[in-house]
């Protein structure tokens, strides 16, 4: 670990404009499970958006998304719907 806190702690310092109730991410559970994409998303997302629940489903905390697109780039076909949040919403970098 670094002295800079957990990933959620770090993200809490970022600025976001949350699009309430409008997720831009949807995991298609069966395909994600069958292809192994689910577990891959959990570790490859730098913002820890994806979590594997006790029953094996993958949940997406879309509000934390940094909008890089890594998840979509590695996801098996049909396992993930991911697009940019609506205009003006999502992460707002102050440094970049």
């Amino acid at each position: 670990m670094t002295g800079f806190g957990s990933v959620p702690d770090r993200l809490a310092r970022n600025t976001y404009a949350l699009d309430d109730g409008q997720s831009h991410i949807e995991v298609h559970q069966e395909v994600a499970r069958a292809t192994g994409t689910g577990k891959l998303l959990v570790r490859i997302c730098p913002a820890h958006v994806y979590t594997e629940e006790a029953d094996g489903t993958i949940t997406a905390a879309y509000a934390a998304c940094l909008e890089c697109g890594t998840c979509l780039a590695v996801a098996a076909p049909g396992s993930l719907m991911w697009h940019y949040p609506r205009g003006g919403f999502g992460v707002a970098y102050r440094e970049g």
Binding site: I44, L72, A73, G88
Partner: protein, 455 residues
């Protein structure tokens, strides 16, 4: 809510009839629509507005720059062509006069530390923070007459027949003679239009970066820089826990940008967690002292291109449409330098010139748009994409990410560790280190030969 697109702006009636084509729409809202307010989009929009054209720059972020993140070194000489005095006027951070290439192992490193005053005369590279730089670029666009429209996500291109005639955002439509896609590495527009296929993961890498605030005096003391001079470190080896990619650390005025770039295929295969690799690097004994006592200002990530030369092999144009910057694939990882913003600007300049000619002629056909790739081939952008075509293949050599750093450290350990055994000449010390490394001579020869030819 973001503003709608129907802004009651004048409609420009025009557009010369294209031979053999039914004229689908005579009316346009603008001469040119540029999608994406990064370096490529802003430079292109600015050039066109300066030439007297009606341009809109659409950006999905609430403010231009708010979605943009780069490692942070901008080889900025090209910007002088667009904004004379760029380095003095733009909100750049530091002028890079010192470059450190660091072969990093778990408990050793061997650095090539290159400082040269000539790199500041003229300034060759600067560190930047995109939220500031891109906001400045957009303000320059606005001053030149570009309508800057932030907070709007373009959902798709409007294509009639073969001709791109505008963009759609939600229920709103905007029409123009030419659309410029400068919407970045993910370019959903290019993918949806069937110009780009989904990239294989090995063409892409994720950059994970922390911006860490440090007082200016600490940065000057710690990195031996004065005034606005700065240093750029490139790390290879243990920084990524053997995942193909590298680490970086760049000094800003009152912060450092530090992080890793990880090739997606290798990150997936190695079973590591992206944030753990980033944290491992920041905690590394060679890196931790450089950021000690700092305050985390921002944690971010961005997708980047590992194999630009292969990616740009797709079409760069369609009738009424051009692709520039990362959306087109213009990024180069040469092993020693990582370049995106200079190529973005270079491609934007070539595109703006071609679009200007198309507007003058009233010809937005495939042939007219193809003046852009033709012009690009004659610039540094086209030349360098060709020159470094084999760099990505070279950077796939796994020995780069572990073995060579260890070998170098063993050679120097043999020199400096005076353990009372009789000394050997340098050749003997090196030979002994090589034999202990498990590397095969033919690999080293082959890699060395490939390196000097590919990089």
């Amino acid at each position: 809510m973001p503003p709608g697109l129907a802004l009651g702006r004048h409609r420009v009636v025009g557009g010369a009839a294209r031979d053999g084509r039914v004229e689908m729409s005579q009316e346009v809202d603008f001469d040119v629509i540029v999608v994406g307010g990064g370096v490529a989009g802003a430079v292109c929009a600015y050039r066109l507005a300066e030439a007297g054209h009606e341009v809109v720059l659409i950006e999905r972020g609430a403010e231009p720059g708010s979605k943009n993140l780069s490692g942070g070194v901008f080889y900025c000489r090209v910007m002088e062509q667009v904004f004379p005095g760029f380095v003095d006027e733009a909100p750049v951070e530091r002028r890079v006069t010192r470059n450190v290439l660091s072969f990093l192992n778990a408990s050793s490193h061997v650095n090539i530390d290159y400082w040269d005053a000539r790199l500041a005369e003229p300034v060759n590279a600067v560190t930047v923070l995109r939220a500031r730089l891109d906001a400045w670029l957009a303000s320059r666009c606005e001053a030149a007459g570009v309508m800057v429209m932030p907070g709007v996500r373009v959902d798709e291109l409007i294509v009639e027949g073969e001709q791109c005639v505008g963009v759609r955002a939600g229920d709103d439509e905007l029409r123009a003679h030419v659309v410029v896609e400068a919407d970045g590495v993910n370019s959903f527009l290019a993918q949806n239009a069937g110009i780009r296929a989904k990239e294989p993961p090995k063409h892409l890498a994720v950059g994970v970066k922390s911006v860490i605030g440090l007082p200016r005096t600490v940065i000057e003391d710690r990195f031996h820089v004065i005034g606005s001079d700065g240093v750029a470190y490139a790390f290879v080896g243990d920084c990524t826990q053997a995942v193909a990619g590298g680490g970086f650390l760049y000094t800003n005025l009152e912060s450092v940008s530090v992080g890793v770039v990880l090739r997606l295929d290798d990150l997936a295969t190695k079973g590591l967690t992206a944030s753990d690799v980033h944290d491992h690097f920041l905690a590394h004994p060679a890196v931790a002292p450089l950021i000690d006592g700092g305050e985390l200002l921002e944690y971010g990530c961005h997708l980047t291109i590992e194999d630009g030369p292969t990616m740009v092999a797709h079409d760069l144009t369609r009738p009424g449409l051009v692709l520039i910057g990362d959306a087109a694939g213009f990024t180069l990882n040469t092993g020693l330098t990582i370049r995106g913003m200079d190529l973005a600007a270079g491609s934007a300049i070539a595109a703006a010139d071609a679009i200007g000619a198309a507007l003058a002629a009233g010809d937005y056909s495939q042939q007219a748009m193809d003046a852009y790739p033709a012009a690009l081939a004659a610039t540094f952008v086209g030349a360098d994409m060709k020159t470094y075509a084999r760099a990505p293949a070279f950077l796939e050599v796994p020995r780069m990410y572990r073995d060579y750093g260890l070998l170098l450290a063993d050679v120097f350990h043999g020199i400096y560790d005076l353990d009372l055994t009789p000394r050997r000449h340098l050749l003997g010390t090196a030979t002994r280190a090589f034999k202990g490394s498990g590397l095969k001579l033919r690999h080293v020869v082959r890699d060395g030969w490939a390196a000097v030819r590919a990089l």
